[in-house]
Subunit: 226 residues, 2 copies
């Protein structure tokens, strides 16, 4: 499938590479293509320059947010949560119209220092804000409860025996996303309900952050057990 | 051990009975003892009247919040989160002084309808508010991520193979609480850190609520897996 992945940080790279590996036709989108490929220093998170990462991955396309969204029949929001709405506006409502939009971002607010808080929570969520801003897109919130490497390959934690959540208003869109998740290796997918249920997995992030600290590693997850 | 349990709803009853079963000397505390024992109708949650529940449990004492807190060497806050600070003020700072105070309440706000939101979250938590209001108590947040029956007997879910969290500033207090949790059957206890980490498990509640809806049952939990 043709998939646009918005975001060139760790999440965009790992998800984009995984989708390409699975045979999808991936275009990664960024704000400013020239500035991105010209960079020769690691980014603020210590990631290697995008151009270096991109070497040997000629099958993965690169374009603006709008070009990547237009290229995809399905679009993944893998941008930093703080800039997601702006990135999606740059992608353009017309390029998201009628498409499944997988939102894997978290509304982290680092302005108060570490650990981050959330800039929207409790009675609203980033997933809902995106659905409200792009009413003709079919927003499905998922994967935001694990780090990028676990998102793309759940088998690296507990042999894949753990849980991922989906929230969204469109049942067919959620079914399509669940199929994509299964192709990544996800076996335990819980449909929480409509997009308002995105508040749950987004508000889980503060617990994830403390677990990351307590466990000293980012490759973990929760398994819902009965 | 002498333990005061504040709260006569499901959580207070189940935890109180479990502690008594384990041989502890339990006093349950309530706002108004006379009003409580005079009630002959089920409460708003459909629980049988307290007096009927209490029959055959003569070993469990009953008193005011202050009497129960005074009686305990360790105190459990099992009140409704919305009324926890008021209940603890009624219990009295002098009756909590130097004691381990286990906070298992959630700051649920049902004023906006269902599902509830949280009346404190993100940059603060009920656990922190209690520690701030009662600086000489040793507050340990725990058990708020599961329902009352799972709290008291984790073996009813997945043979006890799931996780509970503790947050608190006092290491010895957390060790004592962990021992109590192990006596309930908890085998997987993760120490998240100081009392500010209570934001994590409290903000997990909105996910718990959606999982309750999706699973159609309250007897479940998460297992943290690596």
């Amino acid at each position: 499938m043709k998939i646009g992945v918005l975001g060139t940080g760790t999440v965009g790279r790992v998800i984009g590479a995984r989708l390409a590996e699975l045979g999808h036709d991936v275009t990664i989108g960024t704000r400013n293509v020239e500035a991105l490929v010209a960079r020769t220093e690691p980014d603020s998170m210590g990631n290697e320059p995008f151009a270096a990462w991109k070497q040997g991955k000629e099958r993965i396309g690169l374009g603006t947010f709008a070009e990547a969204a237009a290229a995809g029949k399905l679009v993944v929001n893998a941008t930093n949560g703080a800039g997601s709405l702006e990135a999606l506006r740059a992608a353009g409502e017309e390029n998201l119209d009628g498409k499944v939009l997988i939102d894997i971002a978290n509304p982290l607010d680092v302005s108060g220092g570490m650990p981050p808080s959330l800039y929207v929570s409790n009675t609203d969520s980033l997933g809902e804000q995106i659905q409200l801003a792009f009413p003709t897109a079919k927003v499905v919130k998922t994967l935001n409860t694990v780090n990028a490497f676990v998102m793309a390959d759940p088998s690296i934690v507990a042999e894949g025996e753990h849980t991922v959540f989906v929230s969204g208003n469109d049942e067919l869109a959620k079914a399509q996303v669940a199929e994509l998740l299964r192709s990544f290796g996800w076996r335990h997918i819980i449909d929480l309900g409509d997009i308002t249920t995105a508040r749950g997995p987004e508000m889980y992030l503060p617990l994830w952050i403390r677990l990351w600290g307590a466990l000293g590693r980012g490759t973990f997850n929760v398994s819902v057990v009965r």
